[in-house]
Symmetry: C2
DNA sequence: CTTGAAAGAAGACCGCG
DNA sequence: CGCGGTCTTCTTTCAAG
């Protein structure tokens, strides 16, 4: 956990709202000079609070109309199994997210495909050949809303 | 689905790899001039293929050490129930993602909290008071890997 | 905080198929 | 007319006073 004052948090809120905003814009909105805002942003990056900035693509417009969440339960659960599974799953391009979780499942995968036949191909040829998978549960994404989440 | 040629896809790959890259850098990497690359990027934005660029914050460094995924099953499933649920859940700042899904659950929520006591507070005072919730299932996030996903 | 040099953004304009 | 290339201007970045 890193120290952030109210100004830092205001900067983060402004950047979450618009990640493309320049240091000058941020400063103007908060009553700071451009270099002052810029230095604070750099400090937040260096501290790792801001991990980076990533592109938000519309998978559907790229021809990937199907997103499925897979709950995965492993059979054998040594630490070697986890590593094997993670390494194998990392080689599947259709897998967008690998979440190691605690609860009903061991992993949750976000998988995209062009359509349902394409998803079946991924499932049969890629997912079902993963090492150590004992059971699978699938949920098809209908719609999704992402929200900023709490800052401070 | 939008038309993208191989050059567009190369641009998207480069931007996914580094969302902060300038049009000049992208162009240099692909053998295009700065304005040519810039025009293509703008076109991809206008077409909605690039939805935008969002800040990637480290929740842990901001003091939110706990991330939990909640699978939610609704009791009453008229279309009014879905709207009521979505509206109510949108008012909870700790909820980062609302996914409407098809399968074992109706919704999946990504919830962050400072620690487990804080999560209990959110669960009891916010989540359990949501309208129409019939059953809940929780998974605690241990670690997560995000990958670029397929482009074309 | 202010300044200043280097880089990037973004428009006007031309040439090609 | 799409698309790319050059030239040009304005803004932003980022380091140094």
């Amino acid at each position: 956990m890193i120290e952030t004052d109210e100004t830092d948090r205001a900067i983060l809120r402004a950047l979450v709202d618009n990640a493309d905003a320049s240091a000058g814009e941020i400063g103007r909105a908060l009553g700071l000079s451009q270099p002052a805002a810029w230095r604070r942003i750099r400090r937040l990056r260096e501290a790792g609070v801001i991990r980076g900035t990533r592109l938000d693509l519309d998978a559907e417009k790229l021809g990937f109309g199907v997103t499925v969440f897979l709950g995965v339960k492993l059979g054998t659960k040594g630490q070697a199994s986890l590593g094997d599974f993670e390494r194998a799953v990392s080689a599947i391009p259709e897998v967008q997210t690998v979440e190691h979780i605690l609860g009903m499942y061991d992993y949750r995968l976000r998988v995209v495909a062009r359509d349902l036949p394409d998803f079946e191909r991924v499932l049969r040829r890629r997912i079902m050949t993963l090492p150590g998978v004992a059971s699978l549960d699938a949920n098809v994404l209908l719609s999704e809303e992402r929200r900023p989440g709490p800052i401070g």
